[in-house]
């Protein structure tokens, strides 16, 4: 009923290929954009911006990047943390070594460097697949961990190996308030989200998916594996690199190599698996699940007025979180995105199911 499509005719190819073919979806998206760009900045507290929304947006972006590689192209990667690190450190170096480097250029430059590294570590994917590739990308993680920890110029000779960024400046004005930082991240997520969505709908996205479903068959029908796999690595690590730069610049402000450790890689992989492999919206669901749920669980004892010790609370939080992951994977192995599309399908028929 909510999705009554009667009377919505597609009279051109353009309309048929639209991102949101159903009018209700278009209106909902518009409303969502208004909420995100206007209502949220006016109403939400600083804490929510800095501790909830900004990390959620940045990790969603990283999850979109990883989803292109794992979900669309079928190349399992455990090196996401490393590609984020490359993005962050490259952006830092661009900023600190060149005076007056614009913020956008350094962040995108971080993405470009991550692309190069990503393609380099993507080369083994031409010969190995599946779990073996996952192990090979693990090499990227360990190498970059070592590299950022040991090579001094990466951290601009910082004696302790940790780096910090300057006050962020965009087009001459300083980004100090949480709202500005949120809007910056939102802008990046919007642009890259649309870009990714359109890429996976296009020719190249179909090549990736063909490669994922069966690479021999894809090669037989004329898809070049080298091109398809390496472009997936390139696009994925570019987005992940930009997310890494944002994580360092906007969220942390100063960081040590541990911020992009293997934990981050696993966290992101869980995000795309729980959110839904091969789904852009699933990346957001996954990020929300991993970022917001622990916070919510953390607040539960406060709301209930329980005074349990910090350690007990933290352990319980981990246990419940783990149990929920298992629960969701059993209930819907295809991720939260599938749950959503099932719900949507039901909404189309409601209240008159056949």
């Amino acid at each position: 009923m909510f999705y009554r499509e009667n009377g919505q005719f597609k009279s051109s190819y353009r309309a048929d290929l639209a991102l949101f073919p159903v009018a209700q979806d278009r209106w909902a998206m518009l409303a969502l954009a208004v909420v995100c760009f206007v209502i949220v900045p006016l109403t939400v507290s600083d804490y929510t911006f800095r501790a909830v929304l900004v990390p959620f947006l940045i990790l969603s972006l990283a999850a979109i990047g990883l989803n292109i590689l794992v979900g669309y192209c079928g190349q399992i990667s455990l090196g996401t943390g490393a590609f984020m690190a490359v993005g962050a450190y490259a952006a830092y170096n661009l900023q600190v070594r060149f005076d007056g480097m614009p913020l956008l250029v350094s962040i995108l430059g971080g993405g470009v460097c991550a692309t190069v590294v990503g393609v380099l570590f993507g080369i083994p994917s031409l010969r190995i697949r599946g779990l073996y590739l996952a192990v090979a990308t693990l090499a990227a993680q360990f190498f970059i961990d070592w590299f950022t920890n040991r090579v001094k110029w990466v951290t601009h000779d910082s004696p302790s190996g940790s780096v910090g960024v300057r006050t962020l400046q965009l087009l001459g004005c300083e980004l100090n308030t949480p709202v500005q930082k949120y809007l910056l991240c939102l802008g990046f997520v919007l642009v890259f989200g649309l870009l990714a969505k359109n890429l996976v709908r296009g020719a190249i996205g179909r090549e990736w998916m063909a490669m994922r479903d069966m690479d021999v068959a894809a090669a037989v029908i004329g898809i070049r594996p080298v091109y398809a796999k390496l472009t997936a690595f390139a696009v994925s690590s570019f987005i992940v690199g930009v997310a890494g730069a944002l994580w360092g610049f906007v969220h942390l402000g100063a960081w040590e190599p541990a911020a992009f450790g293997i934990d981050k890689s696993f966290q992101l992989l869980f995000m795309v698996i729980i959110g839904g492999l091969g789904s852009i919206v699933g990346s957001f669901f996954g990020a929300a699940f991993i970022v917001l749920l622990p916070l919510l669980l953390n607040y539960v004892p406060h709301w209930l007025g329980l005074s349990i010790s910090t350690a007990t609370a933290s352990h319980t939080e981990h246990m419940i979180f783990g149990a929920l992951i298992v629960f969701f994977l059993i209930v819907e192995p295809h991720g939260l995105a599938r749950l959503w599309s099932t719900a949507r399908q039901k909404l189309r028929l409601w209240p008159f199911p056949h």
Binding site: R50, P159, S160, E256
Partner: protein, 437 residues
């Protein structure tokens, strides 16, 4: 797929958090103290007594004196697991509570780095007694940071002084190894040690241990091959007992190991017992001592069943250190009240003034019950560290024995380094420095 769903989900979750977040309910005569702690994870052995010490002291002040000039101290713990991102979340959550957070003791070098930048903007002080950025002792650049009582540079300097004393002042041709946790925490002393090595002619071996440091076989094998005369041990949490066990296994004399204060508490050596006999550690001022404050803590808090940890923890070095850190914070609040009004709850910015104008004389420390534990400390606009003092203690198999007299770091090594690195920090970050004259 529809991006809008994601956004709806996000908005929903956000709304629930925003609505549900407990509002700052503190009344006007309550001073809020945020407690960032880690009671889980690889550093938990160190974090637990530290967190207990901090909380115990605040409870003591409330129970014994009814707060600071009648202003009750309220506090809330937030678990960071030593993770920078979680630490930032905790910081954001607690910074605005009550009349404003009265300074963050982050308990972690990584979290300190991450919140230092934010503290400049939010105007909240960061209190890092015995850790953090060594150059933040320079108050002209680091307006909001207070590495009170000592930094990793002063610690390394004092350890080298003690070694030099054992070697009758001549370190030429000696080999000193630094076995360190491979993180900013472990790397901090390197700059100072390199400087001393160049000046005194000893050879410095740098041996990083990958966190969490439960696997150190190769490191100690290297030590067996290279035979350093002394080992400086910059470790924390689970890495410490693992390292001592390896030293025992490779037969490196424990008397030749000097540990930083975070690796020198009872929990680090107790289980190894006699195997750790001879293991040296440096203390923050004289944190191995027992004094009136311990008796009072027992009387006012533990005997009433209000203690945070187990009663046998009282007097452990790590626990005492936690109390010292809480005491400095409380005294900063007291000092600030002198200026901004006795018996009033203060803002974060006002408490910063207190940190900067601490003046703990010997009499004052004695009255507080810290007379044996600390020497006088005085901070100023340019000196945010106050006075660093330290002693060397040694584990005799069942308890710590204080082995050395009081040491103070050699400012001819420290001061230029602080200046140089603080200037570099200001330049890298385009910071404006303030004038203290």
């Amino acid at each position: 797929m529809r991006i809008r769903k994601q956004l709806a989900a996000a908005a929903l979750a956000v709304a629930s958090i925003a609505v549900g977040a407990p509002a700052a309910l503190a009344q006007a005569n309550e001073q809020f103290i945020p407690l960032l702690v880690y009671r889980t994870g690889q550093f938990a052995p160190l974090g637990i007594p530290w967190a207990d010490g901090k909380q115990d002291y605040l409870k003591l002040v409330n129970a014994r004196d009814g707060g600071v000039n009648g202003v009750k101290l309220v506090f809330e713990e937030c678990e960071t697991s030593y993770d920078a991102a979680k630490g930032v979340e905790c910081y954001e959550r607690l910074k605005g509570k009550g009349t404003g957070a009265s300074g963050f003791d982050t308990q972690s070098t990584g979290i300190t780095f991450a919140v230092t930048d934010k503290a400049f903007v939010d105007k909240v002080s960061v209190e890092t007694a015995g850790y953090g950025l060594s150059q933040s002792a320079d108050g002209t650049v680091f307006e909001w940071n207070f590495p009170l009582l000592g930094t990793y540079w002063t610690a390394a300097d004092v350890i080298m002084q003690d070694i030099a004393k054992k070697e009758k002042g001549d370190l030429k041709g000696k080999k000193i190894a630094l076995v360190y946790h491979d993180s900013p925490y472990g790397k901090e002393p390197i700059a100072l040690l390199q400087k001393r090595a160049a000046a005194q002619g000893f050879e410095l071996l740098l041996l990083p241990v990958t966190p969490p440091g439960v696997e150190q076989k190769s490191t100690w094998l290297q030590i067996r091959q290279q035979k350093p005369d002394y080992v400086l041990f910059w470790s924390a949490g689970v890495m410490t007992p693992a390292g001592i066990r390896e030293a025992q296994a490779t037969g490196f004399p424990r008397e030749k190991i000097y540990a930083i204060w975070w690796a020198g508490s009872d929990h680090d050596v107790k289980d190894i017992g006699a195997g750790a006999k001879g293991y040296n550690a440096i203390t923050l001022h004289n944190s191995a001592a027992k004094d009136k404050v311990h008796d009072e803590l027992k009387k006012f808090v533990y005997d009433k069943g209000q203690g945070t940890g187990a009663a046998d923890e009282i007097g452990a070095i790590a626990h005492t250190r936690g109390m010292m850190i809480a005491m400095l914070q409380v005294e900063a609040i007291r000092a600030a009240q002198e200026k901004y009004g006795k018996g009033k709850a203060l803002t974060s910015e006002q408490v910063r003034w207190g940190f900067e104008n601490l003046n703990l004389t010997a009499d004052r420390l004695k009255a507080l019950g810290f007379g044996e534990i600390m020497r006088p400390v005085k901070t100023s606009c340019s000196n945010h560290m106050g006075d660093d003092w330290a002693r060397i203690v040694q584990w005799d198999g069942s308890k710590w024995e204080t082995k050395s007299d009081w040491y103070q770091s050699d400012k001819s090594y420290i001061a230029p380094l602080v200046k140089e690195f603080a200037e570099k920090y200001a330049k890298d970050k385009n910071l404006k420095t303030r004038s203290c004259s």
